[in-house]
Symmetry: C2
Subunit: 788 residues, 2 copies
């Protein structure tokens, strides 16, 4: 199907490219005189010149050629702009094709619109200098680098009609996440998924350095990308006419190969194809000033940002700018009104085929509600609280299995995890599906298939990035991870939260499904893997984000986890963090109680306390499964030794309920908070993570001075589960001791009880060091009180 585009066609493409370049320069520099209808004056130039030219002409070049392919083949293409600060190019192109003015009518297709288009760029109240939520056609922020390719693959999964053209900058290509993402082709089915066409853009330089890949010989690059499983096509040069010809040919070859691969895959769907990719070598700052103040600019890192910088104060600089902009011949591109000339406008695809208008980049517009089963069908029967054990994540796994089944026809739900789905006890999902796998297989393999719904790779970066790309294109997902290692994607979490915050403020962006984390194999049950695996701090990072975006849930048992998991999957435009254990643990609440408790987010567990309608002497609060168990065990000790003590037990599922409603929509009103935690009684709070977070959340509450929080205090090693709690003084004995010591008037019985508890701690210490496991009375402990 490759046809040779004729010289005339390519001359039009060149003019279109010039138009995009012109608009890009205009955005960086001008606040007036957008069509250069008069000689450029100082006051036409923005006072602060911000923006990045270097990468832009290459991005525009690619965009123009993809437009040609779309028109010729009726291809559906999503453009991922990997290089940072490529904003001017993305804005210019979506403006030229008409999308921009449709979305932002105040930026019309005329001279006034151009003026505003230029002015708003990198301007207060305007738009950022990189592709961002504001940019039509974008699902990928060009700020922090490294995630272009992994987002591209996320977008392609389960989108068989889509080609994701992913421009990877050679700076970005040095990052770890990007380097790993090339291997995503081992997880992409040529039958069920779309195509990712990576375009590695070697413009040679970062901010102030050459790039590694640009300084490798072609032979070495060819090895590298063949080794990554691709079939690279090289396009290299700087003379525009030759480059247009070569790029058009390269794209024709690539699209022909893609068509051939997809056709062949129907016969042999498990065979991994060698997908094409393009290596494009072109000068940084291509078509910009060759030299400024005697220094090389085009083809050098000096073109990274603003190639000529004193255009308001230095007439010589301004002349360079004007000559540069006029070199694109604006009068040849725009008509008298400032509108793109019709023969150029005709080069843009139509309607949703325009890359700025594809609904895949506004995934909420494509999103279908996830079908979920009734959580009651998975409920653990809890007769007396704490009377039996269950594995919370195992129960959730059964539920997720059926989510997969219910949405099998839509192919719009995937489960992600770094090789830990089974380890995290979600293995039931393999009753409904397989792990995605396109590399070689052996007869001894277990649940590997090209079109599985479970994505496992030993890279939290890939899991997170794939999921982000999948969600932003309108689908649903669930990410389970060891709690400690989720910090690997702290920065990706940050960036996704930022994306959501901005996207929520744009009416044209439709809501996308929430990003749901299950953090399990958590700090208290990493006793066997040791200190390196023990870190509950991700929640602290999450709590810094805007209250409209984040939620943190700490369900204490299986039924509460079911409610929380089900709830999170039904939300949108949020990031939900669920922390829950995978080990057999006591079950506290019936399903009905769990629903009631979780809907409130926080509650008094009457059945566990002894206040009997009276004001409590002490509040024992807890958040998290292990802290809940230890708190209840402490309460059991107190009830036995001090039967007249009035104890209240409070459990927190929704951590944000602790904040003031001024800070978070889930925050309890002060009156309710005071009712639960009292205004003046000691509160011993056992928390799953770093204790400071609780102080930070409640410091404005009336009773805060009486809050005594225990949590993880960086004491960790390889030991027993209960010893982890003891080391961090979060265990039942320490909690009971603290409770007694916080009482205003500890009686004689209290003093002897403290001695007994300290004896228990010594006994524990000796036992674990002799036998390497916890005392039977700890392992076999059950809450001793039947339901009242």
């Amino acid at each position: 199907m490759a046809n040779d585009p004729n010289t005339q066609d390519l001359a039009l493409v060149d003019r279109y490219w010039r138009a995009a370049n012109y608009l890009s320069v205009g955005q960086i520099y001008l606040m007036d005189n957008p069509l250069l209808r008069e000689t450029l004056k100082a006051e036409h130039v923005k006072p602060r010149l911000l923006g990045h030219w270097g990468t832009t002409p290459g991005l525009n070049f690619i965009y123009a050629h993809l437009n040609r392919i779309i028109r010729e083949r009726d291809a559906e293409i999503l453009y991922i702009c990997g290089p940072g600060h490529g904003g001017p190019g993305m804005v210019a192109n979506t403006y030229l094709e008409g999308t921009y003015s449709e979305i932002y009518p105040e930026i019309g297709e005329d001279e006034a619109g151009l003026k505003e288009l230029f002015r708003q760029f990198s301007f207060p109240g305007g738009i950022p200098s990189h592709a961002a939520p504001e940019t039509p056609g974008s699902i990928h922020e060009g700020g922090e680098l490294g995630y272009a390719l992994v987002h591209a693959y996320g977008a392609a999964f389960d989108n068989p009609g889509l080609v994701v053209a992913c421009v990877v900058g050679d700076g970005e290509a040095e990052t770890g996440p990007l380097a790993a993402a090339w291997h995503s082709n081992k997880f992409l089915s040529p039958v069920c998924d779309g195509t990712v066409l990576p375009i590695l853009h070697l413009n040679g330089y970062k901010i102030a350095n050459p790039t590694v890949l640009a300084r490798l010989p072609d032979e070495e690059l060819a090895h590298l990308f063949k080794g990554y499983g691709y079939d690279p096509i090289f396009v290299e040069g700087q003379e525009p006419q030759a480059m247009h010809r070569d790029m058009a040919a390269a794209l024709d070859i690539a699209f022909d190969r893609i068509a051939a691969i997809r056709a062949a895959a129907k016969a042999d769907p498990a065979r991994r194809p060698r997908w094409p990719m393009i290596v494009l070598r072109s000068p940084k700052g291509w078509t910009g000033p060759k030299e400024v103040d005697g220094k090389m600019v085009e083809g050098h890192w000096r073109s990274h940002q603003v190639p000529v910088s004193e255009c308001r104060s230095n007439a010589g600089h301004r002349d360079i700018l004007e000559a540069w902009m006029r070199s694109y011949e604006p009068d040849d591109l725009f008509d008298a009104s400032g509108r793109l000339k019709p023969e150029l406008r005709a080069l843009a695809p139509k309607g949703e085929r325009r890359m700025g208008a594809t609904r895949h980049a506004n995934g909420g517009a494509l999103r279908k509600e996830l079908r979920t089963p009734d959580i009651n069908d998975y409920a653990v029967a809890v007769d007396d609280p704490g009377s039996m054990d269950a594995q919370a994540t195992k129960v959730l796994g059964d539920y997720l299995r059926d989510v997969i089944r219910l949405n099998a026809a839509e192919n719009n739900f995937r489960v992600f995890g770094p090789d830990e789905t089974a380890s995290n006890r979600l293995g039931s999902v393999f009753e409904a599906t397989d792990r995605v796998w396109m590399a070689d297989t052996l007869s001894t393999d277990d649940h590997l298939a090209p079109q599985g719904r479970v994505m496992e790779v030993l890279s939290e970066h890939l899991c997170q990035g794939w999921l982000e790309g999948y969600l932003l294109t309108g689908r649903h997902g669930f990410f389970s991870c060891y709690e400690a290692f989720i910090h690997i994607v702290d920065s990706m979490f940050n960036q996704h939260a930022k994306w959501l915050k901005v996207a929520r403020e744009l009416p044209w962006r439709k809501p996308v499904s929430s990003l749901n984390y299950l953090l399990t194999s958590h700090v208290w049950r990493q006793d066997h893997n040791g200190f390196s695996h023990q870190d509950p701090g991700f929640v602290d990072l999450v709590a810094n984000k805007g209250a409209d975006i984040v939620r943190v849930y700490l369900p204490p048992d299986a039924n509460t986890l079911l409610w929380v998991g089900d709830h999170c999957l039904k939300t949108w435009n949020r990031i939900n963090v669920i922390v829950a254990g995978k080990q057999p643990a006591p079950q506290w609440l019936t399903m009905a109680e769990a629903v009631h408790h979780c809907e409130a987010g926080i509650g008094i567990w009457d059945w566990a306390g002894t206040e009997e309608g009276l004001s409590p002497d002490i509040v024992m609060a807890c958040a998290g499964d292990v802290p809940t168990m230890e708190t209840l065990a402490a309460v059991a000790l107190l009830r036995e030794a001090l039967p007249h003590l009035r104890v209240r037990v409070v459990n927190v599922v929704d951590l944000m309920a602790l904040q003031s409603p001024h800070h978070h929509p889930h925050g309890l009103p002060d009156a309710d908070f005071d009712r639960i935690f009292t205004r003046d009684r000691p509160v011993v709070f056992a928390y799953h993570g770093y204790p400071y977070l609780i102080h930070r959340l409640v410091y404005k509450r009336t009773n805060h001075p009486n809050f005594h929080v225990r949590g993880f205090i960086e004491k960790g090693t390889t030991t027993t589960p209960f010893d982890m709690a003891v080391m961090n003084e979060l265990d039942r004995y320490h909690l009971a001791i603290e409770a007694i010591e916080r009482l205003p008037v500890p009686g004689e019985r209290s003093v002897s009880m403290v001695d007994a508890l300290k004896g228990k701690l010594a006994e524990h210490h000796a036992y674990v060091r002799e036998f390497g496991e916890d005392m039977p009375e700890i392992r076999d402990w059950k809450w001793p009180h039947p339901r009242p």
Copy 2:
């Protein structure tokens, strides 16, 4: 120099390997009967079986063969154990070579020692299941995966005599940081640096999945590693005799090539060599049980952890374990006393050539004090406070340039940064050195050389990992990074902090230099790059770590930054975080004042306040350069409008001074804190980062209820610098308004002043949106009061 090891030699190597495998299995399973002198009984087996067999036989195989090379060539080798949970192998080998008992004399080389060696593994009070600080010969924790190769390169820099043999697991190889780290060979000089010999160990499986690389054909792997710039040697199989022969030959070839490369490099030092690497394919759980309960174990992921698990309760399982252990023929390996037989002991290298005993793995033992210049030589002359501007990081850059010069002979100091050294205004270092670069160069390049002291790559992971490896082998370094993107290495920071915490508790581990971060291009001056570049939350993560490890400094100007930078470079076993700006900004303190202020960490700036020896009406506190400037500007407004108001100005450089001394050694005693912040006056605190952190640090202080903290509240975009402060209500107008509103009895003048300030905010708002820059009175603002 390659000589063919004879069959007899290799038979001895095989016995040595069997000994290591035997000890590895023993550690996982036994607490008694270590030499199987009697039939295995239930009580000999640990009650909780924890540990990982799968990777271990391969690690032992490599170790035994490296021992042979060391003996034959007198090579100096550091072994980096990349695969997680390879602890049993590392412990077994360092025990066999005698290092373990030298460091831990309680684990002797006899039966009693063996029993304790076995018992302590993954046992409470014992040692972790992966290579860790406790492991002799290790600089690399086997917990979180991805950093083996980058640590290896960090260790090799400036160590020309050293070969770092780096075993990369095929699980780990899927991570981003590892995928990027292969390119480190573009930064390694064959003249000035040592050698990294990567050994990619394809045992085929992760926890419950095949690995990607193991399921690629050799041809594709060869492409990949040639593309990464290596010359791969393949060793594949499972029959021990053939594998010994092939591995010995591969190592001989590799070491011959290394010798040839190093010899050739003397003539052509800028030519990038193709270093050898080894791809070793061997079965997971090699030599372990073939099958358990009818399921394949050897060569399958089922051998990942404990291949046969019910050895206490299930006699059949115990029989499998006993047969497995006896297959190594312990009586052929250990003498009657339990000591390794002499012909095997002779296979271990001697003294510090033993990989467990190399001082490179205990870098503090090799560390030489860094020479530093006198900071007074770089001091900015400050006549009246705030009367002139300077660029703080530029001044520090001059100092760093001279640190490089002073230590040039030792070659033991490097500066790291993701392509941002010049952008962060540390460019003066290029007067003394170059950027390290071994890829191709052009005539237009700027300061690239094989042996530069500045390491730049667009990967925070590589910068961090190289620096960690460099520090842990006894050298010094400095990492400058954009503040927002340091989150990329949150998890690496975590793991390094964990390493330091444990290493500090081991008397045999000598102190290593601190890891020093300069976070610049910070949130308040990322106005031009926008929201994606704005995040001050790294400090929150840091504050969760142990107080003995972390320090956070917020110097408000150049002279304080000089003191802080100099101080941090002289510390050890810590992680120092410095947050400072790179833009021209007011200078407040003379060098003498800066020294005094920084030594205290916090102080009252008498010259700025108006309390004149009386008790203040209000405390205006600040931490960070922009908050300090805005606070002083607010104070200037207050002084002008309300001349009778008694204002105290407090500046915090050392954030940890705010904590209670109970929590941090730098914490101010309560009496001092109360003296500075008063016990009852309102405190308006302008903080660089998220305001919650200040509450978290001071919630136990007397005056905490009167603290009103402002900081970054997730309001960001592309705008002007001052508008960033306004958006987050940290600017002079909001601070002054808050101060007035917090006064107990605001007078009439106050009310009218608030109106005036609100007018100023409106004026600012209109101005920036019209002109795109801040009002001249903001840009040109100077502190109006001369030094008293």
